[in-house]
């Protein structure tokens, strides 16, 4: 019979290309864990997760848990929020001790923020839960960090 066997096509479909999904990354955050991937080729860490290493592009990666510690790279105070968010709040970029930079929120009242915070040590202290809207594919979480020095 012409064509390819259904079982062969299904077998090909079952191949897994995603070692750590966004959903699993978020599930980790909800459990207080910052999950990432260690590249078996270059040894570096990818976080947030991607299908391939964010540094060398290798697909050979295994899951790891990061320390949740890092350094505050930059931040802002959002005063004009998108629909669905209540200003003010403080997004930030954190350079993790393991190398990759991640986006997060900073657990600090906006009035206590200043440029001098940049470079301070931070540690993951929880998550912010965004309830979501019609366009967000449901509710999601992001990591929250606090200043530890």
């Amino acid at each position: 019979m012409a064509g390819r066997a259904q079982e062969d096509i299904e077998k090909e479909l079952s191949k897994n290309y995603i070692t750590l999904s966004y959903a699993e990354y978020e599930e980790g955050l909800r459990n207080g864990k910052l999950l990432g991937l260690r590249c078996q080729s270059c040894g570096r860490i990818t976080c947030h997760p991607m299908p391939v290493c964010q540094w060398c592009g290798s697909r050979d990666m295994e899951r790891v848990e990061l320390s949740g510690e890092g350094e505050l790279l930059t931040f802002t105070v959002i005063r004009v929020a998108p629909e669905g968010f209540d200003a003010p709040y403080v997004p930030c970029l954190v350079k993790t001790s393991e190398g990759p930079v991640i986006i997060a929120r900073l657990d600090l009242p906006p009035e206590e923020t200043s440029q001098e915070l940049i470079g301070k040590k931070v540690k993951m202290s929880g998550t912010y839960k965004y309830e979501g809207d019609k366009y967000s594919a449901g509710a999601h979480v992001c990591p929250v960090f606090k200043i530890i020095e």
Partner: protein
Amino acid sequence: MRDVAIIGVGHTKFGRATKSSLELFSEAALQAMDDAGVTGREIEALFQGAALPGFEEGQVMPAAFSAAELNLGPIPAIRYEGACASASVAIRDAVMWVASGTYDIVLAGGVEKALLMGTAFATRTFAMSCHSPTEGPVGLTFPGVFAMAARRYAVEYDIPLDELREKMAYVSIKNHRHGALNPLAQFYKKMGNLKVEEVMNARLVADPLTLLDCCPFSDGAAAIVLCDADKARKYTDEPVYVLGTGLASGSALSKMGDLTKPVSRVESARSAFRQAKLEPKDIDLLEIHDCFTIAELIALECMGFFGWGEAATATEEGETEIGGRIPTNMSGGLIGKGHPIGATGASQVYWIVKQMRGEAARGNQIDPVPEYGMTDTLGGDFGTLCHLILGRVRRG
């Protein structure tokens, strides 16, 4: 590949429009066709930038309806979406298709109608060109992205933040000065004489950016007619040639590396220069993506017009004004002219062409007219970058 020329340009008033997006685009397109002296029957394809029409008017696939409204016949009509760079991406592809020999005459441009959405919903939809899985739940906004970049700029170049804010204010002052002189601008006859303190003391949008560090939400459209360069003089005595184009893509903000030196912007600009066989010193005029004051400084450095960390002081000293080293955003830029995101790239091209014809508004026209001009358009948080280099003479 063939050389490609711009033979006609059109541009609606930017600001708040009562007309629909389809009508706005038609208005710009018909102006451009009149300017070129081409009829609808001669247009072989339509390339239209439109970033958020589904959210604005419940309209996707707008390009097909634009072609239909203009009675262009059943020609290929494609919508391009590269967030705020949508029109530049559309124009670049239009250039490719004409250069390839597939079409001789095409229409390209863009349209947006963002003001009706209101600030909260517009901010939400604009933020959709952030990385949705990770930046979405944080509630990141575009002012927020550039506020974070401004703080890094201050750190990288060891400038006290308030000193940097003062230097950034000169971008707003300059661009509003020229926007106030531009009858097509959203802020025509408004804020033409801003003071540093007014910019710095305006309401904070995302620390340290104030409202006057930011471009507005806008409605508007712009369009151009592109033509095989060998046929351009049949239509106009003043064709403007597309000498080089660049396009590059970025990543989620967190994986970008240095926020003050976005790789996508550097690479896109370099490829445009390579293609045009030109260097920054050859360019006489820039229209660049000043969505925020800090964005203009970062763009000037990434494109190679100033060394790293030098654009802030150069701007304060007037190097980007008329008579300076490289006049930048003499149309008012996004800050003074307005930023209908799907149309902005085409608006930038429109104003370079007008400058080359000596037809920019008084006070904005550089003298002598520029030989070479360049546009820079940014989509998302450095996710899509596009550069176009235009010239009054063909490549040698």
